[in-house]
Amino acid sequence: MTMTQEPAALIGKDLSDDLAAASLALARKFHAGATLWVVSPQWEPHAHHVAVEFVHPVIMGKRALPSVALVDPDPVAQARVATRPGDVIIAVASAADPRVVDLMRRAPAWGAQTIWIGFGARPAAGSADHVLWVESDDPMVPATGRFVLMYHLLWELTHVCFEHPGLLTMADDGGRDCTDEVCVTCSDEGRLGEVVMAPESEVSPALVRTATGEEAVDVTLVGPVEPGDLLLVHAGAALTRLDDVTGAAS
């Protein structure tokens, strides 16, 4: 058999730039004490591979870093409890996986940065801080080693960053595209919050979790709320709630 042609490029220019940015951001988070949580509801072994990569490096002398695969049937509930402000959540999943879509839009309320690895149709702009996407519609991609290469490179580049201590302590606001009004993580309209406890009465506040912790929030403007509802919080009051399906302000 003869296969003399050049193999197709597995990582193009844009993806290599995305990998570089994600690696530096991840190194900065680890440097500040982050744990890396990994979900892959459709392809659980990839979640375990990412976690073991960081916890038990294949290259002697590299730092062991905290990383855990979350493989419960409900990854949102599991990540909600596990995540602390400053952590990072990485998903290996298609853009259409409703569990991961939900996880990614809630992560800012938990103070977590997000990295999304997948293939096929890309997630909507701003869905995650870093999107590392295989530009292929072949449904077999998850079994061909493309994802393995992706998170191997993420690990390798992250450890390169540790050799540049001067660059690890700089502020990092994440990489979400802030091109329109639905970007809630940094807009002036408010911070994303997730209701922990509904108000006990019509005049009492709700307990709401935001990137900085739990706080009492006045919800009289948005009406009755339930645990899990996502709100935009500004100056101690909920200004609006986010639509359950699209994540857009309603």
Partner: protein
Amino acid sequence: MTDLNQNTDFLYPFIEGTEHDPDSLLLDLASSARGKAEVSARLQQASLEEYEDRLRAAGAEMADRFPRGGRLYTFGNGGSSTDAATLASLFCRPVRGRAVPAWSLAADQAVVTALGNDVGFELIFSRQVIAHSRPVDMAIALSTSGNSDDLIRALTEARRRGLLTIGFAGHEGGAMSTSDDVDYCFTVHSQSIHRIQESHARLGYRLWSVVQEETQRRTTALLAAGRSDPGGNR
């Protein structure tokens, strides 16, 4: 000493903690990512070319075994255990094609920890081969060194019981490449564990593709024979 460091900082911008502009690092990282991906792609292609004939032969043998009730067991350690699980999923839960019975022997934490604690880590897979297997079954082991004791023991046990044994190795192939207990050994010639695992995935995918093609060919022949001989010997 402090003075000396300050005076020579400019010579070592990447070593000292005074580096503040991430742009050059980001360029280096992106370039490094593309370079490593190219190395991986070339290694995958070279491995596919080297082993195409052997992959076809192994896949044909597997396609003979599945219709007779054969089951596939995959196993490895660490990252390779997850690659073994991905390979098992490819066989038993493919997005397209026929599904056949396969599972990863590292998947059950109760079994793995029970065996590791009671009889020793080197027996975690071979004891499962003893418990589960029949001669018609198949075993695939993945090890970047080719030397993992628990895998070698399981392959030896599998061969003793008549299973088809396949090993994916790396570096120089290790014990797996010289063992008489391994019917097919695919050694990826690299010193990088990461690049070896990426090629293992690609070779495993090729092996699965061959099994699918061979299964399709056998099914087509079976159906054609059925049409020409209605009410034949079923």
